[in-house]
């Protein structure tokens, strides 16, 4: 296995600090891992990550977790770079990630709205409410577009009466 493949395999196992059922790779936040040659001839692992939301406070923790894990796996020199473009989309969450979200009682996002020109204002209910991840009922309603983390909204199920979090489509 090449150093790049080995470093990639290690980085892909690092979990999201706020949704630890997901790896950074499954969340679509890990954008790439390369092994570069430093000026002094040594190897340096360069991992690229992108924030889900601009103000995501977990970026520093993600960076530190990547560095710690790669250090522990025998890569003493690690650099984490930020990639801002293209902006993160919930469409990048992998199928494995979506399954992990559901298993943890979270509702996975549907397809994101494609925005190119002016964005239309939504005055009514935003979209078809997602089914309850616990009981499967379609009778759910939005409590708030903003949840405990920037990337989630709050819903309540009218049948099982449980509240649940839905990863927003962006």
């Amino acid at each position: 296995m090449s150093p790049r493949d080995r470093a990639t395999a290690v980085a892909r196992e690092v979990r999201d600090p706020e949704m630890p059922m997901l790896t950074l790779a499954d969340l679509g936040v890990l954008r790439g891992v390369e092994v570069e040659r430093a000026a002094d001839g040594g190897e340096i692992v360069v991992a690229a990550i992108t924030p889900t939301y601009t103000g995501c406070p977990a970026m520093a923790t993600m960076r530190d977790d990547l560095v710690h894990r790669l250090n522990d796996a025998g890569f003493p020199r690690v650099e984490v770079r930020v990639v801002l473009d293209p902006p993160w989309s919930s469409d990048w969450i992998s199928d494995r990630g979506r399954a992990a979200l559901r298993e943890a009682g979270l509702s996975a996002p549907g397809p994101a709205r494609r925005i190119s020109g002016p964005v239309a204002l939504t005055l009514g209910p935003a979209r078809t409410a997602p089914p309850c991840p616990r009981c499967g009922s379609a009778a759910t309603r939005l409590t708030s577009e903003f949840g405990g983390t920037a990337c989630k909204a709050l819903y309540t199920c009218a049948d099982c009466l449980e509240p649940f979090e839905h990863v927003k489509e962006i």
């Binding site: 894990r69 990639v83 801002l84």
Partner: protein
Amino acid sequence: MNTAERLTIVNDDHGSIYDGLIGGDSSQWAFGTDFEDPLAGVDTTVPDGVDHAELAAYCLMLGDDALVLSQRLSEWCSRAPDLEEDIALANIALDLLGQARLLLARAAAADPGVVPALPEGSPVPAEDALAFFRDAGRFRNVRVAEVPNGDFAHVVVRLLLFSVARLALLERLRASKDTVLAAVAGKGVKEFTYHRDWAARWFLTLARGTDESHRRLLSALAALWPLQAELVAPHPVELSLARAGVAVDPAATRDEVDAVLDQVFAASGVARPDHPPLPGGGRTGTHTEDLGSLLADMQMVARAHPSGRW
């Protein structure tokens, strides 16, 4: 389990949640720690033919808007009518703070001359120096971001006016020749879409709610409308950079801004106000007195310890 054991409940990546309070882990951020550069690894080369000082000034305008409004929204924490709206306002404040960090860091990268000088050896990064060590007269934010909070209707109207204008601007800024501004705009469009929907729905709810909510909404609208024109009034730096393909002339967004506001007013049964604009403007550093007290609150710890390590 004794207290010590409870305090060392761990997961494999982060150790005890209290370790960060003792220091040594830079992921536990406080002012003055070695927090990561929000533009780490991002190419901040200024495009050919673009004036560095103008680009920095423009980034400060947009960045100060986001920073000052974020601070005002943070004052709502624990004071909203219910938990969901408290969380919503905190989420919006967080998005704005993230945008402010990128924009202030971009300003500093474009023209290090805008960053206030600090004592030699100070660990304060450039974005923090800009946020915490400038006086009110050097802030370039629009005044609608800085005026003091009122009731819940006030924050709804403030966010409606701001997010309608900023979303229309960022939609266009995605085509900026400056790749950093274009990327900030690309993310910002997604975020402001939620902010604007939140504000517009609450505007509608309060307008069509009780007599009291209607009265309060109209009162907030009357108080804030004189500051709306400033959001779509161009500053010479914006015009110059718009010609260079870097900035957006906010006047070019007026039709869209008016159309969206009229849509909200029509759905809400509220007449479009006709109060004249308040003279002056934050883009040239002419602020209300209230910016000074906001900054005193936000900056005093940082200024007391310009070389502090936390």
